[in-house]
């Protein structure tokens, strides 16, 4: 106990006692019941089907970049639903709490959420959606696609890759457990300073937020390192920089941004934790501290983070649009340059998040101009996409619908971004829901791209396409929801409605609040159709099975060269790259299905439980620190150190799959394309090409000779 805080403390449980379990709150109680029933059902099903061993061997301990990518995406989609439910609760509260005569329920004066609970919900919504939903989904997609697009067997550091995922999962676990044990931060996803200081937030909510952000931040930083190293060092022979797919360019740019910005967030929040735990005064207003320094540090990360998520989204659009326009991407070089330029400029714009701080006009002018400069490379991209569509044979498959929707949203989001880049306008609409509408508009660009990517690459990963009809319904309802919800929100912003309000004093805003609620109900319908799309597609996977490597017939980049679903070794032989759009080049030259004369042995890393254990230790460290159970935190930390040391002593030579075995597998695939995948496996193709089907290493197998 380094600083004073209210409430009891015991050695064993720290600040935790039975009263911290919010049984008195009916919303949380029923959520707990629902989650418990769901968990029992899942655990029961896995036990009933005897799948624990399979789950452990093939997924949880896997170092395969595709499986780790799928787990990232599953984590992100699950958290997106959680964040979405938070959004529904916020919109509903705001609609119920309009005017002084609006009734209150469940302890609230107006509406059904007391201010403190409302604060936690909007804080959780933002934190989850940005850090634990969109970021994992994008990292997952990059994980799956980047090695395939550059012709690599795996990521540069498979072990680090698994570790990054499990650290992210540990951070997510902290956010989720805060629902039922203690509470979550009420200080916004940005950690409004000095509200996050111990004097103003003496509970554990801010601690949950801060440790989740720090652990997750480490995971994302490591993931960025991995993607950069993979792209720089693992490209197949012949893949020069100018032959690299645009998605890889955007992944590279985004990862450089991630690597250079996430440590700033981790450091800023670590300093805040020192304030809260060690009694320092980095961000306290007084005693030499400076609360705006926190805001400054946060946005030094925060704005590059916007490009960290938007750049891969741009890359996704650059893959989908040429495929469904049936022509090459227009302006490849400018597209690649624009991706790097956006990443570069992203470092000089962060003050526009707090123009109203009171910096001098010269400073505001500099950041205003820098912010507008982002529009130039972004505009280049938009024109390139438009010229790709121009005179193309445009098909409106589900991925293309999402991509075109993203383009429309980029236009409105970009224009409102230009408005916010002007300090004069920014002073007027600062802290209003206009800002909220703008960044939701932009993050919806990312969301649309993610849904597009899931539809586009699903057959590559699982061997069968997602259902078109329900996919289109999901798209149209989601689009309608976006227009209705954020259109209303833009208007409310112009009318002066501040953000984060749990009570709305003006009844004249009610119609637009109803519009917002209608919009989110449309999102609810879209979510239903998205889940239904997954269900129907898995049920009818035999019908939607992909028999060729190219699921769309007009794809262009290298990942479409290998089978769908992708075998665990990715490519039977390392491809030699001849063209910028390698798969399109091979298809046009009649080389799409040429088989090699000779197969070489393939060396792959062994699965290991250490990353899962590291994640568990990181969770224990975070949970122990949140509740100031110092023995638990110390155990977690010692566990991490021991596991890292153990890994360095672990003789992990990996295993070698003989060329003859590869030939056999390739032949079986050629004889019955598509049969190996979806038909045999209830969850699709990734599991079909199991590493278990490869020979396990014998003593000395693949072991390098000692010098």
């Amino acid at each position: 106990m380094l600083v004073d805080y209210p409430g009891p403390w015991t050695f064993l449980l720290g600040r935790l006692d039975a009263r911290e379990i919010p049984l008195q709150n009916p919303i949380l109680l029923w959520t707990f019941v629902l989650v418990s029933v769901g968990a029992v059902a899942v655990i029961g099903a896995v036990t009933y089907y005897g799948s624990w061993g399979y789950l452990w061997r093939e997924w949880l301990t896997s170092l395969d970049h595709k499986r780790i990518g799928v787990m990232y995406c599953l984590l992100g989609v699950a958290m997106m639903f959680r964040g979405f439910i938070d959004g529904v609760m916020m919109r509903t509260q705001q609609l119920m709490a309009v005017g002084p005569k609006s009734p209150g329920y469940m302890g609230a004066l107006h509406g059904y959420l007391p201010p403190y609970h409302f604060g936690q919900i909007y804080s959780a919504h933002g934190t989850i959606m940005i850090l634990f939903a969109i970021t994992p989904i994008l990292v997952g997609i990059m994980n799956i696609i980047v090695p395939l697009q550059i012709g690599a067997r795996d990521m540069a550091y498979p072990y680090l890759n698994a570790m990054s995922f499990w650290l992210t999962a540990a951070a997510t676990g902290l956010v989720m457990i805060s629902l039922f044990v203690g509470d979550f931060s009420h200080a916004g996803w940005v950690g409004l300073s000095p509200l996050t200081e111990l004097a103003y937030s003496p509970g554990v909510g801010v601690d949950y937020w801060s440790w989740a952000v720090q652990i997750g931040g480490v995971g994302t930083t490591l993931a960025s390192i991995n993607i950069i190293a993979t792209i720089i060092k693992m490209r197949a022979p012949g893949m020069s920089w100018t032959r690299m797919p645009i998605f890889c360019w955007t992944a590279l740019s985004a990862s450089v941004v991630g690597l250079s910005s996430f440590p700033v967030l981790t450091a800023a929040v670590a300093l805040l934790s020192l304030d809260r735990y060690a009694g320092t005064h980095f961000f306290t207003p007084g005693l030499g501290g400076n609360l705006m320094l926190y805001t400054d540090l946060f946005w030094i990360w925060g704005h590059p983070e916007v490009y960290y998520v938007v750049l891969p989204a741009f890359g996704i659009l650059s893959e989908i649009i040429p495929t469904f326009s049936e022509k090459p991407l227009f302006g490849y070089v400018t597209m690649a340059a624009a991706s790097i330029a956006i990443g570069g400029v992203s470092w000089s714009v962060w003050l526009h998040h707090f123009f109203t701080m009171g910096a001098g006009p010269g400073v505001n002018a500099f950041f205003s101009i820098a912010s507008m400069l982002v529009g130039i490379p972004t505009g280049v991209k938009v024109f390139n996409w438009a010229f790709t569509l121009y005179r193309g044979r445009v098909r409106f498959d589900v991925p293309m619908l999402w991509a075109l929707g993203a383009l429309v949203l980029l236009l409105t989001g970009g224009l409102t971004g230009m408005m916010l880049a002007m300090p004069a306008i920014n002073y007027t609409v600062h802290n209003s829901v206009f800002v909220v509408a703008h960044f939701h508009n932009m993050l919806n660009v990312v969301g649309f791209a993610c849904f597009g990517a899931i539809n586009y690459w699903f057959p590559k990963v699982f061997g069968f396409r997602l259902d078109e009809r329900t996919g289109k319904l999901a798209f149209w309802f989601f689009s309608a929801g976006t227009v209705v919800l954020f259109g209303s929100m833009y208007a409310l912003g112009f009318m002066g409605m501040p953000r984060r309000m749990d009570y709305i004093p003006f009844t004249s805003w009610r119609p637009l609040l109803m519009g917002e609620e209608a919009g989110i109900l449309l999102f609810l319908v879209a979510s239903y159709y998205f889940v239904k799309q997954l269900f129907v597609s898995i049920r009818d996977r035999a019908k939607n099975r992909v028999t060729a490597s190219d699921a769309w017939g007009t794809s262009r980049s290298l990942e479409w060269l290998t089978h769908s679903p992708v075998p665990f070794y990715n490519f039977a032989v390392q491809p030699h790259i001849n063209s910028r759009d390698e798969w399109a080049w091979r298809r046009e030259h009649g080389l799409g299905h040429v088989r090699p004369d000779r197969y070489e042995d393939i060396h792959l890393p062994d699965n290991t439980p250490l990353p899962v254990m590291l994640g568990a230790c990181a969770f224990a460290l975070g949970f122990g620190l949140v509740w100031r159970m110092y023995w638990l935190a110390a155990s977690g930390l010692v566990g991490i150190v021991v596991l890292v040391i153990a890994r360095s002593f672990q003789d992990g030579p990996g295993h070698t799959v003989p060329g003859a075995r590869i030939r056999q597998m390739e032949a079986s695939y050629a004889a019955a394309p598509g049969e190996v995948g979806a038909a045999r496996d209830p969850v699709g193709g990734v599991a079909a090409w199991q590493t278990a089907s490869a020979p396990r290493p014998r003593a000395g197998d693949g072991r390098p000779a000692r010098p």
Partner: protein, 123 residues
């Protein structure tokens, strides 16, 4: 493109390691850290001069550790790491420089002028 080796001990980064470099860099690091600390603790110099000494020592420390510990040079295996550092420097300069600029104008324009002359700020 990359050098194929499965033995960690054969990695160029590991092969470049030299015991005397580690020890030498450690001793120099101690001097470059301890020296400025001693000057500050003893108040040997004006705040401005001390600040210059601390910054210069930190810069020298970065170079010493970068070269002798992290092996940042222009050899084939290490040039990407050196490039990463070189690319990183503008970011550090920009973030710290722009932050200093914005806070300088903030203090001049808002509530902090009195604080700027407080002992905590060295005035």
């Amino acid at each position: 493109m990359s050098i194929e080796t499965r033995d960690p001990l054969q990695h160029p980064e590991v092969q470049l390691a030299r015991g005397r470099h580690y020890v030498g860099a450690y001793v120099v690091s101690l001097l470059l850290t301890g020296g400025p600390l001693w000057l500050v603790v003893r108040h040997l110099g004006t705040p401005r001069r001390l600040m210059i000494v601390v910054i210069a020592s930190a810069a020298a420390l970065t170079l010493v550790q970068g070269y002798f510990w992290l092996r940042l040079d222009f050899s084939r295996t290490q040039r990407w790491m050196t490039a990463a550092l070189v690319l990183f420097i503008p970011l550090v300069v920009m973030t710290i420089g722009l932050t200093a600029w914005m806070f300088a104008t903030l203090y001049a324009r808002t509530m902090i002028p009195t604080l700027m002359h407080a002992p905590a700020f060295g005035h």
